[in-house]
Symmetry: none
Subunit: 217 residues, 4 copies
Amino acid sequence: MHNAKPLPSYLVQRYQGWKATTHAENSAWYRRLATEGQRPRAMVISCCDSRVHVTSIFGADQGEFFIHRNIANLVPPCEPDGNKHGTSAALEYAVTALKVSHLIVLGHSLCGGVQGCVDMCSGNAPELEEKTSFVGRWMDVLRPGYDRVKERNLAPEEEPRALEKEAILVSLSNLMTFPFVKSAVESGELTLHGLWTDIGEGDLEFYNAKTDDFEPV
Amino acid sequence: MHNAKPLPSYLVQRYQGWKATTHAENSAWYRRLATEGQRPRAMVISCCDSRVHVTSIFGADQGEFFIHRNIANLVPPCEPDGNKHGTSAALEYAVTALKVSHLIVLGHSLCGGVQGCVDMCSGNAPELEEKTSFVGRWMDVLRPGYDRVKERNLAPEEEPRALEKEAILVSLSNLMTFPFVKSAVESGELTLHGLWTDIGEGDLEFYNAKTDDFEPV
Amino acid sequence: MHNAKPLPSYLVQRYQGWKATTHAENSAWYRRLATEGQRPRAMVISCCDSRVHVTSIFGADQGEFFIHRNIANLVPPCEPDGNKHGTSAALEYAVTALKVSHLIVLGHSLCGGVQGCVDMCSGNAPELEEKTSFVGRWMDVLRPGYDRVKERNLAPEEEPRALEKEAILVSLSNLMTFPFVKSAVESGELTLHGLWTDIGEGDLEFYNAKTDDFEPV
Amino acid sequence: MHNAKPLPSYLVQRYQGWKATTHAENSAWYRRLATEGQRPRAMVISCCDSRVHVTSIFGADQGEFFIHRNIANLVPPCEPDGNKHGTSAALEYAVTALKVSHLIVLGHSLCGGVQGCVDMCSGNAPELEEKTSFVGRWMDVLRPGYDRVKERNLAPEEEPRALEKEAILVSLSNLMTFPFVKSAVESGELTLHGLWTDIGEGDLEFYNAKTDDFEPV
């Protein structure tokens, strides 16, 4: 026996509405996805933030994107140490089993995780430095990015946004530390993409490797 | 300079369509979400599988659900050892910072991660037993669940579905090993929910603690 | 041409779900309500507050309650001066045209309008005293109630809740200033009821005329 | 001592059912709504008619919509004359204090208030012309709409439905006479929406500003 409650009834009602409409209209495709298995074109790594819906932004339906969501859309470096690495497992499955063609890292404005990293690295959130802070230890992935942002001597209020974009670059770099990613990129089977979206304005920027900067798509 | 390409143009086109329509119609709300911050009612832990869209099933818009997605919607046990734990970090942020009211674990049929666990535990996938297999080490979280399924002496073809549901129970149990989850559940600030959906048929079942079984919602 | 936008698509989706399920299952009744007209048993006067759903609390379906909602569930005194009185119009229609059998005033905890009245009457919100403040002028209805609460010399933090309940009594008194309400009550065709609900705890209290106090139902 | 009776026992029974089920399942969220306050995304102005449930149509739960209900879902013009204006007070609170992102005017078929307006304006209900008729004076808000419908030379039986839709447009126009609505619309913080629903058939139409007409959603 586990500690669990029934689904709140407003969600039951909404589900039944979905079943009778969206599912009914698409059941042929959903059944085929069940029978033949998924074949997503891309993997997206985005934030858990409730304000970021990659499927909405890209008008995507079931079957298009394999989506991993974690705090601050981070990819840690490859560490095959036998421990549990959820992000690395998702990556490995997407690239080696599903053979996705694109790997998209999608960052966003006003990211609470990135703000926490700024606070922690600037000494304003000692509780995040503790060993027992899961958020703090996860944001350690972004420490090298914070150091690079710091070198730019920005006004303090500009640091979070700069670090949101740096987080995408840290993830793009770390992606290349995974042998299966590196070889798929080098053989042309996989391309990497860095995106950043502004939650309020709905703007979307991509990382342009030629100019080494983010630009509107 | 990082290894990255511009966004494929079909996605640029779809994004621009979204910006001109959905974003334009909802920009007042999206700006308010940016200004005031998110206040999601629930956290959902679901699979990366491209065929599972919790926001679609529940007719949810930006701001409603804080969503973590990993392989097989697993929650590992609480291990405050100073290492990087992406799922635990997402949980900690949702429960302690965002103070979500519901924690929903959403499993699904035909889960590739669960199938991998069956293969690994039944000796049919020795490569997943290797220390360097990220998927294998991640699926270790589900080993105790596999042992329980095995005790039921099911026909082999019934094992994956049974383990998909067991994975939800393993996650519900592991959730209670996090002190901040346990105390929020005990004080009535948080309720846990286990759901399983059939990708092809669109059915939705919930874990009923009274009968200790899954039932249609 | 008017300043208006299409409905946000998440609401369109939810509506279509309702149409395909709830409406489909109840269409016989809804069509009869359309053909024969409504015949509600009760009128409810409740607050606009998004946290108060009288139909949810009482498991009510279409056709049961004629519901007027305004700030702080107030009924102003009868003033047949030829000006526009939305609450009085709703009352008149419910009692004389629909001949409802019950008139229920439903107040609630943490009412923003009542809090505004406390602030205004205690001199802490001069902006609400201005002629142009619609909220302030509307809350004038509750001034006599504030004076009575003040006489009880409560601790300041107890005043809002006391005034929430007093607002229900003010409305019950003002109801009897409408000749059509008075005569329907006196002839036994109509009964009045005062209720107060606690948003967080879900408690419900009713005004007991015998003890002149609120008690749990 | 006020003229009031206890709650009819069938409603007590239903309330206790709600408390033991819906409230119990959602108490974490309801408590959070109590502690943190409401943050509704939209204000809805709909009719008191017992056959219109906006929360049902849109699968909405507590906290989503701030709802004002009056006869015929009318918004009178802005008149800051120091008198009591319940609708204007609700509007002011929603837009300036709660900062809702959408303002939805929801009309419906077979509206008794609109029918009364047709009767009054066509000379068939002299009692509604009297100064003491609250319904008549309230429906004065819709007289300009009646004049426009009359110019279309419709068959008499088509006038009520045409006026139901015209009532929505009158309200949309009057909304823009409130300075706080106008400025929020112009700055992009607020969007207006006009909807009309058929009670029997469950159809839903929206006002399309581009075609200046109502269309199915």
